[in-house]
Amino acid sequence: MNPSINVEQLNSALTSLRTLRSSVSQVFEALSNGLRADHGEDGKEKFLLELQELLNNVNINLRDLEQTTNGLPIPTGSFNLGNTTYLSQETTQDRQALYTQLVNSYKWTDKVHEYSSFAHSILSQNSLRRSYANSGSTKRRGKLQSNHNVPPGQVDNVINTIDRSYTDMKITISRPYASNAVVQISLGHVLKAVVAFKGLLMEWVMVKGYGETLDLWNESRHNVFRKVTENAHAAMLHFYSPTLPELAVRSFMTWLHSYVNLFSEACKRCGCHLHHTSLLPPAWRDFRTLEPFHDECKQ
């Protein structure tokens, strides 16, 4: 084994991670319970204080976690199996299974290492602009208003304008959950989609087939629409723009409309309708050119 790894240090890092997680879930629990009887007369203020206390705990625990992880050595590459490889020669019957388990967990850590290094390089570019924090100059920020809190009439206007610009895409708005819009889209005889809005920001998409019943949470029974849903989530994040929410919605709808040829158009790269392993039609649309590609062919 790598001698530089200190098991105790690793253990305390894991413990602080667990503490952080439980303090975060306490926040959500308190939030979902809302005001309780024992908050008494001026419950609102007590509730806010309680919440603040819990958030403080989260902050403290997060700092703890950061401290302990900073102390950990960074694994440079893949781990060496060392003496444990001799387990493959184990003769005792009840221990023979250990070696396969060892190999599996080795493969798993190797994968985690690989994925986390990818994730690290992507996240460090901060390509997902989900906050106002770095959205341009401070001058412009002064004029900003929250896009989570837009009057329903304005949302309706934006969506109805988009609806009128397509003849083969019908968009209808409903508000089953208080003031936030849930938008149903039906695109030719090809697909249906439902998008949940928070103000003018898109929060959730679900894409289904023409003959399926539409709701926010159940996935399509067809592989191809599950793939399109996955890609629609990526598109929603890609077009996300806290400063120009209207443009984000319009770009997303333009992108979604390009699925009108989901079954009829072949992949621009390999020229086939079906990908030879996934047997899916080109379920990806380029963000800029809107050209169809298989997931496997898009790069």
Partner: protein, 208 residues
């Protein structure tokens, strides 16, 4: 339901139907499909009595994919009229035996294994009439799409991949005028009737 194409598969000169079904099953399983039971489509035709005027033919079909339905198609001049009813319709036909007689010797069916592969459903049917083997019908359904013109290129590509790139694949006669309409189960039944009628006209092939 999605768009379905029914395709005849030629049985090579010195091979049996069982051999061809096995070969195709292996090919489909190698693509990663799973077998999901068996299927059966059958058809019985009835002739109206001469005293009722011009003789008319009624075809009664069942499809195991829609087990609660009975499909009936009345040949009336150039036009076919269809009715989709529930299982009681079979008893109704018995009641009508005074006016419509069954041509028992032409009762024909296609049955065999049913496979699911991604969003496709594939059925390999041996066609038999009066216990004699008539040929092989391959049914391919692409379930996510509901209009034939949108998915035709995709289906042809799939069928050519399965049956060999030299196979010529044409849209079935029945679908040609309905390529942009929403596909329904009766469209599959019409395709079966078209090919069953063609088989009835041929003399029996070799043994199964």
């Amino acid at each position: 339901m999605g768009v379905t194409v029914l395709q005849q598969f030629p049985v090579p000169e010195n091979k049996t139907g069982t051999y061809v079904i096995e070969m195709l099953s292996k090919r489909i399983l190698a693509l990663g499909a799973t077998q999901q039971g068996q299927f059966l489509v059958d058809c019985e035709s009835y002739l109206s009595h001469p005293q009722m005027g011009t003789t008319k033919t009624v075809h009664i079909l069942h499809n195991s994919e829609q087990p609660a339905s009975v499909f009936s198609i009345l040949e009336s001049g150039n036009k076919n009229i269809h009715v989709i009813a529930d299982g009681l319709f079979d008893l109704f036909m018995i009641k009508l035996s005074q006016h419509y007689t069954s041509k028992k010797q032409t009762k024909i069916e296609s049955k065999g294994p049913r496979f699911e592969l991604g969003d496709f459903c594939i059925k390999l049917g041996s066609v038999t009439m009066n216990q004699s083997f008539k040929g092989i019908l391959i049914e391919v359904e692409y379930r996510p799409c509901v209009t034939a013109n949108a998915v035709w290129g995709l289906l042809r590509e799939f069928l050519q991949g399965l049956l060999g790139s030299s196979t010529v694949i044409q849209p079935p006669q029945h679908l040609k005028n309905r390529m942009s309409e929403i596909y329904t189960p009766i469209d599959t039944v019409h395709q079966y009737l078209e090919l069953f009628s063609a088989y009835r006209k041929t003399t029996a092939l070799r043994v199964q």
